[in-house]
Symmetry: C2
Subunit: 344 residues, 2 copies
């Protein structure tokens, strides 16, 4: 309350300088200070200079909280995400935060954990801080809370979700096509005993990859051994691979629905069963995480269009897309490496 009383005596006030103080020092009005920090506002070069000098002297920084209260936007964009440490998501966050910042936004990260309900809790924070937009990178919000976001004027963008909530923008990746390509790659190369490894987490993306891979194999008259379990992580791939290769009819080709899983499968094949890759076992992953390119894996996979997704999200957030439908499906291009033979 009296935070700035006694200001004159204090050597170094532990508090922020206000526009009021800057105005006083510069000998102009409070409004002039405001204008000096508003691009495009009408202010003479002279008073602007005076304001800037005073601001520098006082160490003044516009309070964006107060500004957000007046303007209809705060500049805050929320990222709702779980498993931040995961290679794919961390690169998405990396590039998303970069382009968002370049667009003048500031990003708030809400770690939604893996527990259910955490997404909704995050969305509530989003509302509390009056975010201009929120990008849901993992998990699915309940309709009611999502509706609240929409009602309050927030832009809500969901990544890889099935349920098209009206008012929401849905971005996704062409999982079906990639899964079909994976199956055909195996079949054409001459692999005969196909398998699929996926986690126990049934996100729409993973489910789509699984189903399309199975469908394509079936159309070609092939059975597919399916291993499903655990988290979407290396360990699950290692375990799944181990169980598959230990079975009576071990596969010679496995599509792992994620690179993390694929690395585990590959290590199981190579280190636990001494199988050569791609000669005895072909492996295909999905995501093109950095490790997929490392010499020990050199995984054939599909690249997440991280850059395209980020750019599109920013365009939506920055209001660059209006009236044209913002929903979009991005391609995940095949990245050829050496974990699957071209021809056996």
């Amino acid at each position: 309350m009296t935070k700035n009383k006694g200001y004159e005596e204090a050597v170094r006030p532990v508090a922020f300088a206000s526009a009021q103080e800057v105005a006083r020092l510069a000998g102009v009005s409070r409004s002039a200070v405001s204008r000096a920090f508003t691009p495009g506002a009408s202010i003479s070069p002279d008073t602007r200079a005076k304001v800037e000098a005073a601001a520098a002297e006082l160490g003044y920084h516009v309070n964006h909280l107060a500004r957000g209260l007046m303007r209809q936007q705060t500049g805050i964009v929320c990222l709702v995400v779980a498993d931040i440490h995961t290679p794919y998501l961390s690169s998405l966050i990396e590039t998303l935060s970069r382009v968002l910042q370049e667009a003048g936004k500031v990003v708030m990260v809400l770690n939604a954990g893996r527990a259910s309900g955490r997404v909704d809790e995050a969305l509530r924070q989003t509302l509390n801080y009056r975010a201009d937009a929120t990008l849901v990178l993992s998990g699915t919000p309940y309709r009611s809370i999502a509706q609240s976001c929409l009602d309050s004027g927030q832009r809500l963008i969901l990544l890889n979700r099935d349920d098209h909530l009206p008012g929401t923008v849905n971005l996704s990746v062409d999982n079906a096509r990639a899964a079909r390509t994976a199956a055909n790659l195996f079949l054409r190369a001459g692999y005969r005993r196909l398998a699929l490894v996926t986690s126990g987490i049934g996100t729409p993306s993973l489910t789509a990859r699984r189903d399309c891979f199975l469908a394509t194999a079936r159309e070609a008259g092939r059975q597919v051994a399916v291993w499903e379990g655990g988290a979407t992580a290396y360990e699950s791939g290692l375990q799944g691979g181990t169980e598959l290769f230990a079975s009576d009819d071990p596969p010679d080709a496995v599509f792992a629905v994620t690179d993390l899983l694929a690395c585990g499968v590959l290590d199981a094949a190579r280190h636990r069963f001494g199988r050569s890759v791609p000669g005895e076992v072909g492996v295909i992953g999905f995501d093109d995480i950095e490790q997929a390119g490392w010499a020990s894996y050199d995984l054939t996979t599909f690249a997440q269009p991280v850059s395209d997704i980020s750019q599109w999200m920013v365009r939506i957030v920055a209001g660059g897309i209006v009236d044209e439908p913002a929903d979009r499906v991005f391609e995940a291009p095949l990245v050829w490496r050496s974990s699957v033979a071209r021809q056996l």
Copy 2:
């Protein structure tokens, strides 16, 4: 300005309900609404119930921006960080954001890129949004801007920085001890031609690891081949390893100052020179990233005390540490795996 005029006619107002509206609907004062959302405020169960009912009906969410304006804190904690996609940093962000949220804070991530000056730009944002605290995980801020943060009452915590700016809290890891341990491990096992691989980025941590490794080897009467270059990444390790193993006097033990580098070195040894690890070449890394535990690497390394660091940071941010010196050096425990022999 007239955002809520015409509210009665609108089917669904695209705007936020205010405490004022909640008060009207609940038949209480504006203050009562405020109290209903302030833990510990004096309010009767009866009026609280009325307020909650009205709030639910209107979809009211306290505006934390306005709240932050009045209280002396915003609840915002900024993370200034570069290379977010990197395994070590992404796990630090993962656990930091989790514990911070559990402590009732909200985290803003400022991607400082790798360019110089970006840290200062980030710190300026920190000031604009009146963050309660900011944690600098990468890079070094200029004194002047750091001083501004301190002056404005922000808590400023720096990770692994050398320059102890007064007023700032400095957290670091015992790099010296780890590097010494690495050298001794090699020497005791019987490795004879030591090498060190580090990046061209001279952060205090990397420099300390390098210097202490070299000093320990020197004390034992050993020369160390040093490769230094590139970013702190797998590719640099691969290149460094390749050049070292191709030299006239190739090493039989290399300490890579980071796991990412170590993975590259190990792949160079194994895949480009057919050297067996740990029999012909021993490799030690630092960080204990997830990949260090993967079967293809199984890297002996030192674990970043991510959890301890996070917990300590949160205690400082939440005000749990007062008057006692908050600076701290954490140990990075050795993680024994199979990339270095116990005895050749």
